[in-house]
Amino acid sequence: MSKQTQYPRTGFIGAMCVLKWEGMREIDRANEKRVNVLSVFWALSLIGVSAAMAFLDLSRDLGFILPLAPLTLGLLCLRAYLKLLREMDELLRQMQFEAMAVGFGTGLIVGMAILSLPIPAPWPTVVITVSMTLAYCGRIVLGAREMARNARAMEEAGE
């Protein structure tokens, strides 16, 4: 059995396998790992700082300094993401840009819809963020499925 057929090429799992193992180079994997690690640290620092601000009796100075931690980590995360985009394989980059366009577009549409509601919507920021994330991830999954389809076509052609 060849290396390419050691994992499924159909369904969600198959699409993700093709994306990760055939669609990414080593440098893409390393850059993505850096973004993921920084994102986790950013999220943890955000939660930690929010909890500290809410439950601890902090001095005024510390109250101003503490939020700088997630801000700094967020900026580092943004820089790592830009590096990822710049060095990314061009097919993946196209997928990322399309996913970003769909994500931000969805955020704008959902945001405008929420603003036009006659009653105040509960948790509008959460609704917008979740819809943007789902749209972004959905586009990535569709791109990965397209990759898996191409991989199957390639195998059927005897490549």
Partner: protein, 73 residues
Amino acid sequence: MNNRLRVLRAERKMSQAVLAELLDVSRQTVNAIELGKHDPSLLLAFKVSQVFGLPVEQIFDPGLHGEAKQAAE
């Protein structure tokens, strides 16, 4: 955009993985270009031209017709 990538690769008995390595792209990018699902960037088109030792226009056909083709010529 049409291209002769697959034919040229077959002539040289080169696998998609090897070509991808030479071009510093993923195997799926080479596959998508061959299937006409992805148009390569200018840089990648020039790299392909270097690998096969052929001018870009002999590998890629942008499908220009009529006035656009005359203007390009």
